[in-house]
Amino acid sequence: MNMNDVLTVVLVLIGAPILGCLASGIDRRITARLQGRVGPPILQPYYDVKKLLSKDNMIVNASQNFYVVVYLFFIILSLLMLVFKADILMIIFVYTVASLALIVGGMSTGSPYARVGSSREIMAILAYEPILILYALAIYLLTGTFKLSVLVNASTPLLVYTPLIFIAMLVVLNIKLKKSPFDYSTSHHAHQELVKGMTTEYSGPGFAGIEIAHFYEYVFLTGLIFLFWAVNPLIGVLISIAAYLLVIVIDNITARVYWQWMLKLSWSVLLIISIINIAFLYVSKATIMV
């Protein structure tokens, strides 16, 4: 590890939550405007976290906050691995640790609402994980390696050869950000009949931890979209922002669906188009390396 790497780590640790916090604030502002409200200040998510941290640590189970720490740490680790252009398959597995920690954390409270939310989130794994790994496979097929480090030197953007997987990944982004129509495990909106799903029993510092992890997760997930055009960082960032805005708009114009509907959508449409895309890559033996 040289000095540059250390600086990058520090920058990610500090910069990512700021970015994520702003993204979350913008989300709330846009949502409010779409609903004809003025909306909170952009920094509202930050004020929320600050307030949560000063609250009492109310718990129902002695170990429930342990899962929050694991969730936070593994989100950060997967983001760092993404920044350091590690093995994409590996990143996805590390990210799975984080997702599972949150699910198990929800179940560990024993609350019926949290357990229903967690069960649904487990079903979401079934919907998005194959697509994430197919996405990794597409990167391998186009570059000859799972290591992301070569992607920046590619001659053509990834998106050119993976338009169908890109569409599937947009839905994955939607599912992972827990936005409508897929916000049935927990939600940022008040209209949830499931109270707060997975996070029902979290309050105070524990919930602040989850919120901070969400900030990192925003950056991580949009980072996955960024890879589609990593050859030109500017376009990559623009695509990520566009994808994020699209998800916010979808969030506001759709109603929540049953989780069964999501599974059907994923395994019938998204998986099929992703596999078609992969099959095309096998047949055409396309490469984006020089």
Binding site: L72, F73, D87, I103, G106, P112, E129, T200, I278
Partner: protein, 633 residues
Amino acid sequence: MIENTVMLLITVPILFSLLFVALPKSLYKYLAWAFFIIGAALSVNLVLDGTGVVPIGEPSFAMLENVVLILEVLVILYILAVSAKYKNWPTLGLGIISAALFAYTYTSVPKVESASFNIDQLSQVMILIVNIIGTAIILFATGYMDQYEEHRHLNRQKTFYFTMSFFLAAMNGLVMVDTLGWLFLFWEITTLCSFVLISYNQDEEGINNGFRALALNLLGGIAFSGAIILLGTNFDISTLSGIQTSSSATLLALPVALLCIGGFAKSAQMPFQSWLLGAMVAPTPVSALLHSSTMVNAGVYLIVKLVPAYAGTSLGTAIAVYGSFTFVMCSALALSQRNAKRVLAYSTIANLGLIIASAGIGTPLAVAAAIMLILFHAISKALLFLCTGEIEHTIGSRDIEDMSGLIKKAPLLTTLAALGMVSMLLPPFGVLLTKWVSMEAASSNPIVIVFLILGSALTTVYYAKWLGTILSSSMDKNAVHHKKPETYFPLSFLGLSIVVTSIFVFTIYDYFIRPQVEILIKTAPAITGQAGQFTSEIGAFAYAAIFVVLALAVLIYFATKNMFTPRKANYYMCGENNLEKDGLMFRNGICSYDKSSVSNIYLQNTFGESKLTMLGYVISLILIGIALAGGVL
């Protein structure tokens, strides 16, 4: 040196099996401890002795060959007698076919002049698995069987321990011997032992399932002896190493395919999976032994040993597709199961499918993954089965839904079970690392990789449900839970083994796996790196970083735990809690109180056994047909 160790590894378990018969029940505990220590010492000794071939020449060969012959006749006679006694005609028919094939082999296939044991790194790994995990399971049994028999009014522990120990002896022989004729004897003895153990309860279900196991494995055995006859008469090959070094690899495809089918049956791959599912009627230590350290491992062991004969051929591709199909199918079936032992059984079959798929891919990277997965899967699965058995004794159920709140009733047991589950599906543990390696290796074959991806997601889902359930807290009163050292020592030991082997995975790779892959396919996997990092030509797995972050998370959690003084509360019930009673109930519509209960999602209508099993049979039979056709053409 090495000769002595080899002989001791076969004779010592037999000695112990006799001791179990001779000594009274009160001494079993000490006997099991001694067996565990001696077994571990012997297997470590074999590793220290290094690799090599142990030829058995005259005069001991003639004597041993006669012993083998007599034992084979006895095995067949026993099978015929027992299937006639219970009027199980299909098994009797298969027994008669086996006997006929045996008689044909004896009269018409050229005799071998000598026999040999061949100790390579794979044998060493298998010996470690059999003699450390296997004896740990027997040790666990001494703390388990009394209660088990008390519930069922049985008194057959002498048969039980005799068969368990004999099983280990046969396994030891199986993984060391090079001569196919002798290998076949050990193969059939493990079949017989599993029959005795599965029908242990002597009730109708036990005996039926025992016969199913016997019949399906006899079917595999028939394929095996067919291969021996073909190899002996047409190619003059009588050893495993002979197949590996044979130059006419393409000609050997049919016998090799037959041997693989024998392996599929033993490893309970589709369409043979029903015997392993039926095997769970037996006491839990038996399931643990069958699923992790013996029986099913024999099948994948043979398939990995045969890699040189099919690596890179169309037969290899057929095997890879077949294995990955079993992986995805059984993972889907596991998703729909509520019975913990059934989930584990499907998980075993699925993981063995993954091993077979990796072996079939046949690249150095994939073969390395196959061998590593045999090791890591054995440890994790032994732990999970034993934990399930202990959970059953603690809460009286093996239904996953009944396990919620377990963390409060038996914290140590739950932690160990959770470790077992986490080690099956998350980094930085060994099973996931090998899954990563096999996925990267499989990415050259579109069908295999898509199957692996789907199966991997399904695996995450069914373990996540179970993991969340046992870790969920409940407001129930704590159950009283007795801890016995002979129960908790094996559990803790296996848990520790998972962590240690995962930390030292690169050392293990360097010492055992790389040389073995070099032996099998002449090229070492292009894996470089040092402790803490795996780097192949197409990827890198920095497992040390993950360990560090995990440790950091634990540290930070405990460091900050007291910064925010926790205050306990009951969980939220929309203000409808029955606060005056115990907080567990909620007020329902007619103002009385109901207990809240939530269950997991099992998708019975999509992934249920009634939906998928038939499909699995059809497709797996077609795939086996393709593999065989590839062998003939």
